[in-house]
Amino acid sequence: MTGEQPALSLRGLAKAFDGKIAVAGVDLDVPAGSFYGLLGPNGAGKTTTLSMAVGLLRPDAGGAWVLGHDVWADPVAAKRLLGVMPDGVRLFDRLSGAELLAYHGLLRGMDPAVVDQRAAELLDVLALGDAGRTLVVDYSAGMKKKIGLACALLHGPRLLVLDEPFEAVDPVSAALIRDILQRYVAGGGTVVFSSHVMEVVERLCSHVAILAAGTIKRVGTLPEVRGDRSLEEVFVEVVGGRTATGEELAWLSR
């Protein structure tokens, strides 16, 4: 790979749980500097795919590369460039926000002075400074997402992988997270995130991939995938949902 290297590339990633196939061979190239949305209905394999891409779940087959570094063969180099916010994974929530950030920073081998300075800045920007010594376990859902994002950003990664960053987040916090992510991409970073909320994806993303039943169904830039229709129409068509004809459930109206 020379020249313009993809920030993240997946080749033939596959995973089965107890004989049930969750991901059936995913190939994906995420260009550097893109804002990449991974779309899919519930149970499509988004979390499984992203977990394999960042080294949290060992794939049955295939591989993942972060800026050319093999995640599974050379994890140290790959993980240094990578910031991750997994979904449904607890943080070390018996720490306060500041303690958690310090912990993540030192785990990454950062200089304590830099950790202090960045942690203070992140807490301030994400409006978490008011929480003081409150333990993360007592945070609200939105605050937990924000501190998770702060932990992923702290070491200044080149690629940010976020699983459902806008799930269960109020509009104010969502706007804040969106704003920070847009600034991060404008500064040369790459973001990959999963979601099933079309509005967010349409507003933010430069590239989109639609994942259903463990395989990629559509992939490309947002205009390419969307064509002249709305993203939601394309999504429902690809995933194979039904659209209401207006005949059924007539008894609902009176």
């Binding site: 960042v54 080294g55 949290l56 779940l57 060992r58 994890p75 140290v76 993980k79 240094r80 990578l82 991750v84 997994p86 449904g88 994974v89 607890r90 943080l91 070390f92 929530d93 018996r94 720490l95 306060s96 500041a98 303690e99 950030l101 310090a102 912990y103 993540h104 920073g105 030192l106 785990l107 990454r108 081998g109 304590p112 950790v115 202090d116 942690a119 203070a120 807490l123 008011d130 929480a131 003081g132 010594r133 409150t134 333990l135 376990v137 007592d138 609200s140 932990c151």
Partner: protein, 569 residues
């Protein structure tokens, strides 16, 4: 469900008025809910049957204990048994539900919050439903023994009074349990109080064994005559009044019986009034505990906040951060703290009991070691091995404590050897001082200060070996703990295989510690001086070697380990 309490068939006030809700409905509702819980769940039925059999066994034992004075026709201890036995029963009903996080929640008062029920109906109904339970029936059966005693000593009249007394007493027990739990319901629902309660429970559970033995020893030496006035005083409090009324009548204090029944009735009314008042808070308490108040801490950088003051010596790098975080977790995570407390209490009491051994203490059931009349370096070493094993086996599922949070270590790429060394160091911050106290205290209590070397040497050796063995077990045999606030909850099903692994770790640790015991038995006086340096070196070496070898295993198994400690949702 065809029970009027929950039936939606009362759209108007007139319809509701035609169907009076009586305690009978609550009892039927409770039975129905119980039966539905059993549906298709054989193991639940089995558990219930086991509980019922256990309750019956307890009831039978209690019955004969309380009936003993009557059966023997001896009134010497009748009052004492009634006052103390009954009083302890009431105390148990008062405290145990608090410690065990609430009572039988088949009929949770919060479920009735939306129903238009008068408070009085609700209280009597819930009380009636609460009486239909194994513990209530067991207590009723057990204390019926008092009726036999009263009847045998005082004839029919005393027996009848005692029947009334026992019935009122059981009502008092149940009402006390309900009133107290209801009053604390809102508090028990908050995480902080539950954490505290968990630790108290661990202390209580750990103390139970030692207390029992000390109690037995005290009973043997006690001067019974001096307890008589105490029994009389207890008899006049609500704790003893219901149980002693008939005995008083039998012993000729006719005037005392009605007064004691009156005391019981007043206490019962007061408890029900308290319960009724606190029901409201219990009913709304379930909705929300409210946000926790923000705590303002000392200023300072994030890094300074992460490190507790007493870990301040640690370097501000990855290893130091791991130690600091683990040190904080051993205190802040109720599950871990409960484990620490158990180790501290058991680790101090068991060796003392085993080594004091001899005629007046029976510690044979606490562990398999024989208890000779006098202690010896061999026995001391053995008991120290036990403490070391106990302390180190706490780490057998150290990754399970972390749960899915362990993902952070994968993402950051923490090297396995560093991780294990840091975890050992942080745990040792708590345990080593504890072990030092145990070994010194034991030597002092035995009156052999010269044995400090032997005790601390074998303890350190076993602990170090145990760290190594349990590191391996924690990497290979980890299992997920449920993400609940109850620190004693275990995933059902994980039990048998996992405790087998833990057992294996304990046996492995003991085997590896055998050289210390052999040396103590063979080397004689020289060992008093050599034990400490040799033991410390052996332990430290084993722990470091363990971290080195197991660290490689951990490096290869990180994602698999994460998968096994992540609870299924």
């Amino acid at each position: 469900m065809a029970v009027p309490v929950t039936a939606p068939a009362a759209p108007t006030a007139t319809a509701a008025a035609t169907h009076r809700v009586s305690p009978r409905h609550f009892v039927r509702l409770k039975l129905r809910v119980m039966v539905n819980n059993f549906r298709g769940q054989a193991w639940r039925i089995a558990l219930y049957v086991v509980g019922a059999v256990f309750g019956l066994w307890f009831a039978g034992t209690g019955f004969f204990l309380f009936a003993a004075p009557g059966l023997a026709g001896n009134d010497r201890y009748a009052l004492m048994i009634a006052a103390f036995g009954g009083g302890l029963t009431v105390l148990g009903w008062l405290l145990l539900p608090l410690v065990f996080f609430g009572v039988d929640e088949t009929l949770d008062p919060a479920r009735f919050a939306l129903l238009p029920l008068p408070r009085r109906t609700l209280v009597t109904g819930l009380l009636a439903a609460a009486l239909v339970s194994v513990p209530a029936v067991a207590v009723l059966l057990a204390l019926s023994g008092l009726v036999v005693t009263a009847g045998a000593l005082g004839g029919w009249s005393a027996a009848v009074v005692q029947v009334v007394g026992v019935l009122a007493g059981v009502l008092l027990c149940v009402a006390a349990a309900r009133a107290v739990t209801s009053a604390f319901a809102a508090m028990l629902r908050s995480r902080r109080v539950r954490d505290l309660a968990a630790v108290l429970l661990a202390v209580a559970a750990a103390l139970l064994g030692p207390l029992q033995i000390f109690g037995l020893a005290a009973l043997r030496d006690a001067d019974w005559d001096r307890l008589d006035p105490m029994a009389e005083v207890v008899g006049w409090t609500p704790f003893g009044a219901p149980w002693t009324a008939g005995i008083d009548l039998a012993e000729g204090r006719v005037w005392a019986a009605p007064v004691k029944l009156l005391i019981t009735a007043l206490a019962l009314v007061a408890l029900l009034a308290w319960w009724s008042r606190s029901l409201e808070s219990a009913m709304v308490g379930a909705a929300s505990a409210g946000p926790a108040p923000a705590r303002r801490g000392p200023a300072g950088g994030a890094v300074a906040q992460l490190f507790p003051r007493w870990v301040g010596w640690a370097r501000r790098d990855r290893f130091g951060a791991l130690v600091a975080r683990e040190a904080r977790y051993w205190w802040r995570d109720a599950r871990r703290r409960a484990n620490l407390v158990t180790v501290a209490v058991v680790g101090l009491f068991v060796p003392v009991m085993v080594n004091l051994g001899g005629a007046n203490l029976t510690a044979g059931d606490t562990q398999g070691f024989a208890v000779p009349d006098t202690s010896s370096p061999l026995l001391v070493s053995l008991s120290m091995v036990f403490v070391g094993v106990l302390a180190s086996v706490t780490l057998a599922n150290q990754f399970g404590f972390d749960g899915s949070a362990y993902a952070a270590h994968l993402v950051a790429g923490v090297p396995g050897q560093q991780e294990l060394r840091a975890r050992m160091a942080a745990f040792s911050l708590y345990v080593l001082p504890m072990l030092a106290v145990v070994s010194v205290a034991l030597a002092v209590i035995l009156g052999r200060p010269g044995w400090v070397g032997v005790t601390s040497g074998s303890l350190l050796a076993t602990y170090g070996v145990g760290l190594a063995v349990n590191s391996l077990v924690s990497v290979l045999g980890a299992y997920a703990l449920p993400e609940t606030s109850n620190p004693f909850a275990l995933n059902s099903g994980a039990g048998v295989a996992k405790s087998f692994l833990t057992l294996l770790a304990m046996v492995g640790t003991m085997v590896a510690a055998v050289p210390m015991v052999v040396a103590a038995a063979l080397l004689g006086d020289v060992w008093h001086w050599l034990a400490l340096p040799v033991g410390a070196a052996y332990g430290l070496g084993a722990a470091l070697l363990g971290a080195y070898l197991v660290g490689d295993v951990l490096d290869r198994r990180q994602p698999e380990l994460l998968a096994t400690v992540t609870p299924r949702r």
